[in-house]
Subunit: 222 residues, 3 copies
């Protein structure tokens, strides 16, 4: 029955086998690890300067855990037969989760490294957006297997990205074009805060890439 065989092959090309679905628990763990890091970041941006180094160290530890998970996914990806199409999606999903955590770790590190004093309120908004995006992502990952509720997740992350983008724009405007009644920051402080604000925006963008990749997988598997 050649046509049945062909059918099976086409099926293989567009659906992950149970074995290949073994990727998804790893993605759930990677996303839960990002939730933990985003929780520490939220505490860090609300903490007194003296309380920040211990929180940044925890974020660093979680980033190492994330690196191990990314590496585990990549090794699995390279040793399992899946179609190239799905393979690129998996690669992109793992890479963008890794990018989120790298940016969170870098922001936490720089806040400590630059010995910053008070942080603008908008940075707490950015951290809160990241925490909510992390939780949405961790909740969505188990749905990859059954392709459940993924559209809702995608819409949610995109709306969080818009919220983050608005906070980012306002932070940049207040840093670079402050109104007359704001007490001006010295330029080195502007540079330090600008770098942190940009790094947090990169994390939000990477969450959007995660969501776009998940949507892409969902459309193909539907």
């Amino acid at each position: 029955m050649p046509s049945a065989v062909t059918g099976t092959k086409l099926h293989m090309a567009f659906r992950l086998t149970p074995h290949e679905r073994g990727f998804y628990p790893l993605f759930t763990r990677a996303a839960e690890n990002i939730v933990a890091a985003a929780e520490e970041l939220t505490k860090l941006v609300a903490a007194e300067p003296s309380g920040r180094p211990v929180l940044a160290a925890r974020v660093k530890d979680l980033e190492h855990t994330g690196d191990d998970l990314t590496h585990e996914i990549m090794v699995k990806l390279n040793s399992v037969f899946v179609t190239p199409f799905d393979r690129e999606d998996i690669y992109r999903l793992a890479s963008s989760l890794d990018d989120v955590l790298d940016a969170i770790e870098e922001a936490a590190d720089r806040i400590v490294l630059y010995r910053l004093d008070a942080l603008p309120a908008g940075i707490s908004v950015q951290a809160d957006v990241l925490l909510r995006a992390a939780r949405a992502t961790a909740s969505a990952m188990p749905g990859l297997e059954k392709l459940d509720s993924l559209r809702e997740y995608w819409v949610h992350v995109n709306s969080l990205e818009d919220e983050g983008d608005e906070a980012y724009r306002e932070l940049l405007r207040d840093l670079l074009a402050p109104t007359n009644d704001a007490s001006p920051l010295d330029v080195l402080t502007v540079l330090k805060i600008k770098e942190i604000v940009e790094t947090l925006e990169e994390a939000a963008d990477a969450f959007e890439t995660v969501a776009n990749t998940v949507e892409s997988i969902a459309v193909k598997e539907a």
Copy 2:
């Protein structure tokens, strides 16, 4: 006739079917949309500060149109059978067109957001390079189907990229290492203009990625 069947499959792997060529009108529309945005940007950088917000709003609208076109291409890409090879090219082409427009929109937005007064003349050169690259890209897109004149387009965009790069280098030098007879800008103004100049250079780089991807498709399909 197994060998004939194999021949057909190989053919499928390296040529887009008429159905799959349905991507190309979408790419033409995406490129024409970028032309419209680059035209507004050119007006914006020549306008008085009071005339800028309405032009930036038009660029924003065109960016939303571009997002819809990118999404339409991605959905089509995920629901149509093409080989992964071509698929990655299509993904890259759509992403880099999206990157061009995002950068143009961001530059237009920042010029308004930062309440900048006069802009350096080099920024008009950058905007003009982008407009010419957009027009070259829009003219080339219909050629994707017949693989016409694509080499000429690639050479043209690369030469525009060199022109843009020269304007970018001179702008950075004048901002960061002004000669003695130039009246120095205050540092916040330097930071604002530097960001805009860098964003416009990103748009030019993204046009080069578009051209490289088109060349790659052309070589494979030739």
Copy 3:
């Protein structure tokens, strides 16, 4: 014997044929070209300002050579039948080698363009890390064919990346949060040096991407 045929096809999917291995000498040449550029960069950051332009011009020439090699790899990639999986690896390897050299050239160019006087000592550390990473990469490339010693190379480049990252962090801290006993730099000088330091860090990151891609190829081919 259908199963034998299938076996052959699977073999094709996961091993490069001798013809396709023709990529690897090109990668070796690209990596050796980067070694030459990193050597000039090391001299440049140690030179008196008056001696820099001639060294930056040599880096520029080597970057043109690198562009030609990248183009040769891409044309070969597009005209040869390999599986999409391997194809994406080759694309990524060529692109990340190109990114290394672009960043080295940009850093060299900016040091001259900005008429910088003394450079912080950390920049010599960054340049030295790049030179060692370049040599490790050039030594590893011939191993791609036999899949020899690639794990060792990957570990080596990752440890160099850590070393570069530490130098980068310290440079940023000294630029943006100098201790009281350091004589403060004027802000434009901070901006100039920050840009160069960031560009050199991009080169180090691109070497890590090269190493990750090589590891990925090695795992698949093992």
